[in-house]
Symmetry: C2
Subunit: 206 residues, 2 copies
Amino acid sequence: MVKNRADVEQGLPRSARGRARRAAILDAAGLLVGRRGYDGVTLRDIATAAGTTHPLLLHYFRTKDELLLAVVDTWRERAEDLGFGRDDDLDTVPERVVRLAEQNAATPGYIALFTTLSSAASAPEHPLHDHFTERYRTVLEGLRRYFRHAEATGGLVPGVDPDAAAQSIVALQDGAQVQWLYAPDEVDVPGLLRGAFGRLLVDQPG
Amino acid sequence: MVKNRADVEQGLPRSARGRARRAAILDAAGLLVGRRGYDGVTLRDIATAAGTTHPLLLHYFRTKDELLLAVVDTWRERAEDLGFGRDDDLDTVPERVVRLAEQNAATPGYIALFTTLSSAASAPEHPLHDHFTERYRTVLEGLRRYFRHAEATGGLVPGVDPDAAAQSIVALQDGAQVQWLYAPDEVDVPGLLRGAFGRLLVDQPG
DNA sequence: GTCTATACACAGATAGAC
DNA sequence: GTCTATCTGTGTATAGAC
């Protein structure tokens, strides 16, 4: 079961030093996990890099998964995700998806961590399962809404199912990022996304 | 470093009982890893499920990674992959890709294991890194050859890059399988692949 | 070759003193 | 809030009986 924001913030440090230490741990975790992968990093490594000990680290983050989840959340906030949820500016969704892919490419650690966690968390017993289930649900619903809108305004290629289109875009992004981890120079994730959108949508004038 | 076939088979059991035990371990490993994920399963769990002890398991498979790699290889042989590598019958590649996706859907454990390992092994230090690098290289090259062939015979939609098309198909398959793990009833992997092929290839008569 | 028993180093996690 | 000491479980290794 994944804690919600209120639960997690209940344990936030009160003092300035505590807050600084928490931030240092978060930083070190992001750096190391990005470099060596989820399982390649130990809590002792992270604690040492942050200038502490691992029991103290566990005082701020009750479990390793909770720490990694906090790292993901930090990055997610920075990227501000896609701004799905709002119905205004629906037409700019493709641009925003591509831009997010470009931002991701600038932070390889994020991609490595996210792809690893998202497949590991597919097991129902995984501590992050609910978090990722919800995440997929939200993103897919946002894209679905966009493609339905496109269909209604004649922007969708005839015969394409909006649900399938949404799933395909997410799948392409996730799968392409894995390939990118293996061969960063040969895979252009934003370009592949642009191509897929181009084949799903009818050409617009201008 | 991943062992090649000759190295691995050097340690194969000679007796009938040994062979049966090895097979039982392989079976149990496939089942449990498929259910609980790579890290969610211990060697002692697998050994118990196979009716043995973990030191004996390590007599047949020197390391946990070697065991999991053997599981992957077993399933790969059963599916016979795509038969890429041969240049005959190039036109049936799309059908074979879709058929493989259908076979995969029948063995959920394989998908769970493969998606988990393929992202975990993207870290260069991972014991299975070379194996998966080679695997991606082979599959991508086969698909690239197909799309080049399609381009030469006028079967490829104008403006589509054969390399990008190959990467997109693999990305779609991998990404869709992850979504399928989260929501098996809502994601139709073979259907998504059929759709993607349809948008990349010009309609054929008949 | 097959199998049991045991030991080790390291991981994540806890208890409790200050 | 912080730190020391400690626990349990994991992958791995080895010694030696049959």
